[in-house]
């Protein structure tokens, strides 16, 4: 027996995140660490809980082990419920055979029976790729007020960036009248945030039709949304004006972390009204040593900092030895930066050791041609030997 839920969330977390290269070699993108003690998936999960949505299906496929471990029974997000709660939904075998998820729409299609258990009026579709704080309830209210069949959250982006997004063209009422995927000459600046609310009975119908049409992509953006629009269903835009960042590339992941250190950028993790939840490390408080210099940074439990840290985000259990310098960088959980090492404009993955005197990355102003410069990246569980050099833009996925 399941009791009825007004709204169920389905979180698409199966993507590989191939543009994060070494960082997603062993884990799905939503499991990638962010912001000192979070993983990307903490943001949509916390948003759900803070919005009063207590039933969340997490669709996993690529390298799900770390993600499944992390989600566990959902207790850190208060999603360990007798009725509802968080459920990891990897692809499964049926009497008709086993299939991978063939696209975002197909992933939901294969889990229609999961959603139907809760007999919801509405389904919110989320992705595990974005950093933002949003009250899905406000969006749901908009969906209801507009008597929409589908509501798409949109962000007003600068015109020059519009061609990187799916762009919604709306009329004066805010109804979506047309839609362009990454247009060369955008007709609007309203970018889709990849957050959809559907009236479930409608969505189910379109998912089934999509599945039965072998010619079509099994994807929301390429098939479901255009099909609904062509059939004259009511699609409306929901304008969001807060902080939102796609962390699909190494540069954007680095930037999104650095945004936390910029007091002028509105992503506030310290707001008691909208707490971000995560699986908390069991470690003593961080210790800042007698000769340490720490400014403009975020540091987490279990860290021991004896060296210099500036403009950086340091995750739990990291050790930065005396004489080591970390600036404009992200150091993920459990890594050690040995004495004399210099880490600049870099991302160092989980449980790495950066040897004494090693140099990771460089400052952009040291390059005449900025195109030759980029963030240096060390993948997870990598040892960098003494005095080794990792160049800007270099991505290290094996010991060196």
């Amino acid at each position: 027996m399941y009791t009825k839920k007004e709204c169920v969330a389905m979180l698409l977390a199966g993507g590989q995140g191939s543009r994060l290269y070494a960082l997603t070699q062993d884990m799905a993108k939503p499991a990638v660490p962010y912001g000192g003690k979070y993983r990307i998936i903490d943001f949509p999960l916390s948003n759900c809980v803070n919005s009063g949505i207590d039933t969340v299906g997490v669709l996993t496929q690529y390298q799900p082990l770390v993600l499944h471990d992390y989600i566990g029974n959902g207790q850190p997000w208060d999603l360990d419920k007798m009725n509802g709660g968080v459920h990891a939904l990897p692809p499964f075998q049926t009497a008709l055979g086993a299939q991978w998820y063939k696209g975002t729409a197909n992933a939901i299609y294969q889990n229609i029976s999961f959603v139907d258990r809760y007999d919801p009026e509405y389904v919110v579709i989320l992705s595990g790729d974005h950093i933002y704080k949003m009250d899905y309830n406000d969006m749901l209210q908009h969906h209801k007020d507009k008597k929409a069949d589908a509501t798409i959250a949109v962000l007003d982006v600068p015109l020059e960036e519009a061609s990187r997004f799916g762009i919604m063209i709306t009329n004066d009422e805010g109804d979506i009248v047309d839609f362009e995927e990454k247009p060369k000459n955008p007709r609007s600046t309203l970018a889709s945030m990849g957050i959809y609310i559907f009236t479930w009975s409608k969505l189910k119908q379109y998912l089934i039709e999509n599945e039965n049409n072998p010619e079509e992509d099994k994807d929301f953006g390429k098939a479901i949304i255009p099909n609904m629009m062509n059939a004259g269903e009511k699609l409306v835009a929901y304008a969001f004006d807060g902080y939102w960042k796609d962390v699909g590339t190494l540069d954007s992941l680095w930037e999104a972390n650095m945004d936390l250190l910029n007091p002028n950028i509105p992503i506030d993790l310290y707001d008691p009204e909208w707490k971000m939840y995560s699986r908390n490390p069991i470690m003593p408080p961080q210790y800042i040593g007698a000769n340490a210099v720490v400014e403009n940074s975020m540091i987490t439990d279990g860290c021991v900092v004896e060296g210099t840290v500036d403009f950086s985000v340091i995750f739990e259990g990291v050790k930065i030895e005396e004489g080591a310098t970390v600036t404009d960088s992200i150091i993920m959980p459990g890594s050690v930066i040995k004495s004399g090492a210099v880490v600049e404009y870099a991302i160092v993955g989980e449980n790495c050791v950066v040897g004494s005197g090693a140099q990771i990355g460089a400052r952009p102003e040291t390059f005449d041609n900025r195109d030759d410069w980029g963030i240096a990246v060390v993948g997870h569980n990598i040892n960098i030997s003494e005095n080794a050099k990792v160049l800007p833009k270099q991505i290290v996925s094996e010991n060196m």
Binding site: I282, Q286, A292, V294, E295, N296, D301
Partner: protein, 374 residues
Amino acid sequence: MSSNKKVLGLVFSNMHDNTITDLTKERTMGSVLFGGRYRLIDFPLSNMVNSGINEVGVITKSNYQSLLDHLGSGREWDLASKNGGLHLLPPFSHVSSGMYRGRLEALYGVWDFIKTSAADYVVLSDCDVAANIDFSAIVDAHIESGADITTVYANDVLTAEQAQRATVFGINDDGRVVDVLVNPHLSGACNVSLNMFVLSKDFLKNIVLEAASKGLVSFEKDILQARTHDYKIMAYRFDGYYSRICSMDTFYKANMNLLETSNREKLFLTNRPIYTKVRDNPPAKYAIGANVKNSLIGDGCIIEGTVENCVLFRGVKVGKGAVIKNSILMQGTVVGSKCEISCVVSDKNVKINDNRMLTGSENYPLYLGKGAVI
């Protein structure tokens, strides 16, 4: 546990409340804050769990609201369990129980709980000692020696004030307790009780029921001291790092000693972690102009000023230009800009307005009560 015996843990959360009355005015000794993110009860609870004890009763008396809030279902200690788990034992929980005066009466008051446990042995612990102790080794030693009671002690140098708030053992060459001094007038090197005891459940039953019939209340005076030679009381020496908190002075020093990395490494072992309540704080944030040296900083702190030789608990805010030295600021303390603070112990949620100067001394830190606005 090598002997594969079932062990019940019993934690006394209120013992020693009267030694540090400022901090226990609105809480039990067990819920006194310690080390930047912990409560004192986290140490006995974590030690028990890490020693394979998964059934623990917490005996409380008064002021236990903050303790209940901290412990919740016991999930953070892995004690939210269908078998065993965490049991909160307030007074008046049984018909025969009431407000107790000492350990023996407290044990009698919760006898119905102890009785139903399937344990063979019982570990008793107070909340005045922060240490990382393997109880399974002590239970093994207890079984091997055939003792009636095994006490845990450390050999340490005590001041006169510390000794007066301690129990001290005389121990012979065989490791047997031959003398028990409760709150003695002495100072110097001695065998100080860490207020942890191991006995079999059967033996505990005998002494508790006998004590009830004779109106005895104190485990230390009426059992350890009065029956030193009747019972076989063995002493187990703990040589690891520990802090025994028996005054504001010792509380202050115990926190400050954690700034020494070697001490932290002995207390916070990665294979035997100290668990505590999760608060979902974001990471600590250091602003431009922050200057932090030799300090322990909890998650969720926002630091814009200077902090030297301090322990800052979770969610402390330090304003621009403030200078804080040699101080302990508990959870939620807010220090305004340009304050100068030295040798202060601030309790939870203290607010210090801009430009204030507050100075205590190292042997007599200035204590600011819970929620005070300065």
